[in-house]
Amino acid sequence: MRESPSVWAFPTVLTLHTTGMGMLVGASWLLDLRLLGINRNVPLSGYRWVFPVVAIGLIVNLVTGVMLFIKNATTWGTALPFLVKMGLVVVSAATILPIRKLVLRSGADQRDAGGAARLLAIASILAWTGAVTAGRLLAYLVV
């Protein structure tokens, strides 16, 4: 990418990474908010759309993320904000698995997600917020 003769390559990859982030984090948050009791009138099964959106966002960001990392590997590889970001991405992506199980198993009219789901939702919201923050700070703290 750095050797690419096109001045568009890097900004385009960066834009894709931002779009993927919006899909991934936005959709995850909306489901987390539902698990915390917002929009209770909508049955849990009404949130199944979240998983394909999150999956697409994750794949796009994995690919573009690797491309962005290669460009800065020497500085980012040992930078604390980057390691924190990676840790948080893994944690927040991991929370979606039990949440997914729970939502896919829910009955057609099931409204209550239960206490464990609320804890998972809080963990997911905090981890995604932290991951976005760490990613953004990467641009300011690490050259």
Partner: protein, 323 residues
């Protein structure tokens, strides 16, 4: 033509438009006509939206004209400072108007106090905008100064715009913090708008449209966070943006996307028939949804505009000069 011309073309929109919206709202009160109030709120929202390019082009005009000897830079700066207040009141009124329209669509009427609140905020915006317009006129309409009174000189250190620039330039954490919030707000808005528009386009058919549509206020929350942080960037470091092509694309996309958001809000098909027992429109599976070609075209326009906002914003550091 430069951006000063654009500002001169557009600069009457906030004042004249506010008068029109206020007239509709007051007429609605006088005639006890809810429909007139509804239209008044819609006009108010659109005027609040159009106030954005007016403010932005005004700052650009300032940067183009500041070195000319026949223009008093103090008059420009006072005008800009008051205009920022007018802009803020106007956006506040626009958000309240949007919330009232949302409740209207959902429950058949706005919550108590919302429409009067929007009306009062609009009056406040109109007063401040009127003052800003007057001060703007003094920049290059010497005939208004017939009495010979010079434009009141302000202390540059006491301008709000200058104070914001100080924070943006000298604070180590303010800019990164605002950038972070800007990205979080982006995620929230994009998540909601993708889901709603893709559903209109035929994805996720098994989910009732109303169940997605009811998430719109969360999208608006993200947008509000991004308007505030975005204005912090612009007011803090205007020179980064006033001569930046992607920034103007971003504003154009934003206006299109905002108008589309209004369409989506008052969208008649989003909810089922009004349910007397529940006191609101029926949602969920009781609200069959059949989008037509026009609805789908609007959804495509919406997605294009929002992705355009995102792309142009992300390109700011590359095609423009911002960081």
């Amino acid at each position: 033509m430069n951006l000063a011309h654009l500002h001169l073309i557009m600069n009457h929109v906030p004042t004249v438009g506010s008068v029109a919206a206020l007239g509709l709202l007051l007429l609605g009160y006088a005639r006890r006509n809810e429909h007139l109030k509804h239209v008044g709120l819609e006009v108010l929202f659109l005027i609040a939206l159009l106030t954005l390019p007016v403010y932005v082009s005004g700052v650009a005009a300032n940067h183009e004209l500041r070195n000319r000897s026949d223009i008093s830079i103090d008059a420009v700066r006072i005008h800009q400072d008051v205009a920022l207040f007018g802009f803020s009141w106007m956006e506040f009124a626009g958000f309240i108007a949007w919330a009232a329209l949302w409740q209207w669509r959902r429950r058949g009427r706005a919550a108590k106090g919302m429409v009067p609140a929007a009306t009062l905020l609009l009056m406040m915006a109109l007063v401040v905008m009127g003052r800003a317009a007057n001060l703007g006129g003094e920049i290059h309409h010497p005939e208004i100064l017939a009495g010979g009174t010079p434009a009141p000189a302000g202390d540059p250190n006491r301008f709000v715009t200058s104070a914001i620039t100080q924070v943006a330039v000298y604070s180590h954490w303010a800019w990164p913090a605002a950038e972070t919030i800007h990205f979080l707000g982006l995620s929230l808005s994009l998540g909601v708008l993708l889901a709603v528009n893709l559903r209109i386009l035929g994805a996720m058919k098994q989910i009732p449209f109303a169940d997605l549509h009811r998430l719109l206020p969360w999208g608006m929350l993200g947008f509000g966070a991004n308007l505030i942080t975005g204005m912090f960037f612009f007011v803090g470091q205007p020179a980064q943006y006033t001569s930046s092509a992607p920034f103007y694309w971003k504003i154009i996309f934003l206006v299109i996307a905002g108008a589309n958001f209004l369409y989506l809000t008052v969208f008649g098909k989003a909810w089922g028939p009004f349910d007397e027992a529940q006191g609101r429109r029926s949602g969920g599976a009781n609200a069959p949804f059949h989008p037509n070609v026009a609805d789908k075209a609007m959804a495509i326009l919406s997605l294009t505009a929002w992705l355009g906002v995102l792309y142009a914003g992300r390109m700011l550091p590359f095609l423009g000069r911002s960081f």
